[in-house]
């Protein structure tokens, strides 16, 4: 019989929600890419928008300091499996970005305030995109043109996060709270 511990900060439910939303985010990105037919402005807006909306719902559901950090950790390990080891070196930077976003949410009134969650997710997304862009510079440093194209795509993606993701996420959280699926207090 294995030894059993009690009293975790991260209860099993929160961990399962983080794992499920990471899986859902990847599956939804795949869905949008398949429907949208690859790299075009509408697909980019929708893909990033949906990912951000799901992230807002996840943070509103988990409601614990470190939710974004945990999500980042899982998402980065998954990225390692999907894109190889290239991105693993940036894990500390991503975690730092998530920590800043988590701290911002906590400082702005906590995870119960929807606008604080939206602000935190917006900052988290911005951090993530900047780090991704820095990484693409490292990969394609010999050809600035490629980095420039990447920067345009990243900027467009962030537009999708701000214009589609955050409003949709806010609407989802309100509806899900109304339906009792996400706790109000």
């Amino acid at each position: 019989m294995a030894e059993v511990r009690k009293g975790f900060y991260w209860d099993t439910e929160s961990l399962i929600v983080v794992g499920l939303f990471t899986a859902l985010g990847k599956a939804a990105s795949l869905l949008v890419a398949l429907l949208g037919g690859g790299m075009n402005p509408v697909t980019l807006l929708l893909k990033n928008g949906i990912a951000t909306a799901l992230l807002v719902v996840m943070v509103a559901r988990v409601r614990k300091f470190g939710a974004l950090m945990l999500y980042t950790l899982v998402a980065q390990v998954v990225s390692f499996l999907m894109t190889g080891g290239i991105m693993v070196g940036t894990l500390p930077l991503y975690l730092l970005g998530a920590l800043v976003a988590d701290a911002l949410i906590a400082l702005c009134g906590g995870y119960r305030k929807l606008w604080a969650v939206l602000l935190g997710v917006a900052i988290y997304d911005a951090f993530g995109r900047l780090i991704g862009l820095a990484m693409s510079f490292l990969m394609a440093r010999e050809n600035i043109g490629m980095v420039g194209v990447g920067a345009v795509i990243v900027a467009f993606g962030y537009l999708g996060c701000l214009l589609v993701g955050l409003p949709c996420g806010a609407k989802f959280v309100k509806e899900l709270r109304h339906a009792g699926i996400i706790r109000e207090l």
């Binding site: 294995a2 030894e3 059993v4 511990r5 009690k6 975790f8 991260w10 099993t12 439910e13 961990l15 399962i16 929600v17 983080v18 794992g19 499920l20 899986a23 859902l24 990847k26 599956a27 939804a28 795949l30 869905l31 429907l35 949208g36 037919g37 790299m39 509408v42 929708l46 928008g49 949906i50 909306a53 719902v57 559901r61 945990l70 950790l73 899982v74 390990v77 998954v78 390692f80 499996l81 894109t83 190889g84 080891g85 290239i86 693993v88 070196g89 490292l138 990969m139 440093r141 010999e142 050809n143 600035i144 043109g145 490629m146 420039g148 194209v149 949709c168 989802f172 699926i181 996400i182």
Partner: protein, 276 residues
């Protein structure tokens, strides 16, 4: 060939993960064509040992298409700049691109090849059970292990849910494509994302109750159904890889550094100005 293959039966998943990590890191450091080609060739041999030639060919064709698309987008961005008369003009763009095409334009693409090869070596023999076993044997904390296990188990489930959703939307007389999303974006989100989100949250409820009942993640030492062990072949492959990587890095160090990015462009401009 299959008997000699570097497949799941021969190589531990942790060996392949470690190789992926190290090779990707080294490929970022390398910038010379020779060392990158050598690393690409070595990793290609490694992935060819799996014997899955058809899949490897398809992956390579997909990456080639992606590279062609990238070059096309770069050229198009210069054309757009000319149309709007706000950015770099077509002639300026081509003039900027010409030395890069002749010089080290190919380097970022060459850098992707080793990373692709080591990734294929993981993906071609990927098994959820073996991966979960590897994560457990790495003594990852519970906070990382439980979400990762959930992720690995539920991606196929979500893909199935998405298929069901597509059928349900079709039955209601709506279509799920780019045109429909463009004309009715809110409806597209309502019909796809909302059911997925609600389903996920309900699934999380059921799964967390089941996990609590089974006390998942509470044991100090998680039970391992599949015991992973490093074998001689793992040590041999790691040793060969270490020697090869050291040699390639030494080759790279012997090549004089070439400037890149804005500094390179500035020095080119300075040279042109001095020439004039």
């Amino acid at each position: 060939m299959r008997a000699l293959s570097v497949s799941s039966e021969a190589l531990d998943i942790r060996t392949r993960l470690l190789l992926s990590l190290v090779v990707s890191g080294v490929s970022i450091y390398l910038s010379g064509t020779g060392p990158l080609l050598a690393l690409g060739a070595a990793t290609l041999l490694y992935v060819l040992a799996s014997g899955r030639y058809k899949v490897i060919l398809v992956a390579y064709l997909a990456v080639c298409a992606m590279m062609a698309l990238t070059v096309g987008v770069i050229l198009l961005s210069f054309k757009i700049g000319e149309w709007f008369a706000a950015g770099t003009s077509w002639e300026q763009g081509v003039a900027m691109l010409k030395p890069a095409l002749l010089g080290n334009f190919h380097t970022p693409f060459l850098r992707m090849i080793p990373a692709l090869n080591v990734l294929l070596a993981i993906g071609l023999d990927f098994s959820v059970q073996r991966f979960v076993g590897a994560m457990k044997s790495l003594h990852l904390p519970r906070v990382a292990l439980v979400p990762l296990m959930v992720f690995c188990r539920f991606v196929p489930e979500f893909i199935d849910v998405i298929r069901q959703l597509r059928d349900a939307v079709r039955m209601r007389g709506f279509s799920m494509n780019l045109g429909a999303a463009l004309i009715h974006p809110i409806q597209a989100i309502r019909l796809t994302v909302v059911p997925l989100t609600v389903r996920t949250l309900r699934m999380a409820d059921h799964l967390s109750v089941a996990a609590e009942m089974k006390r998942v993640g509470y044991a100090k030492r998680p039970t391992q159904l599949l015991a992973l062990r490093f074998r001689r072949v793992d040590f041999a492959v790691l040793a060969v890889a270490a020697c090869l990587l050291a040699a390639i890095c030494a080759w790279q160090a012997a090549i004089p550094a070439t400037p890149y990015g804005p500094s390179a462009m500035k020095s080119d401009q300075q040279q042109e100005a001095a020439h004039e």
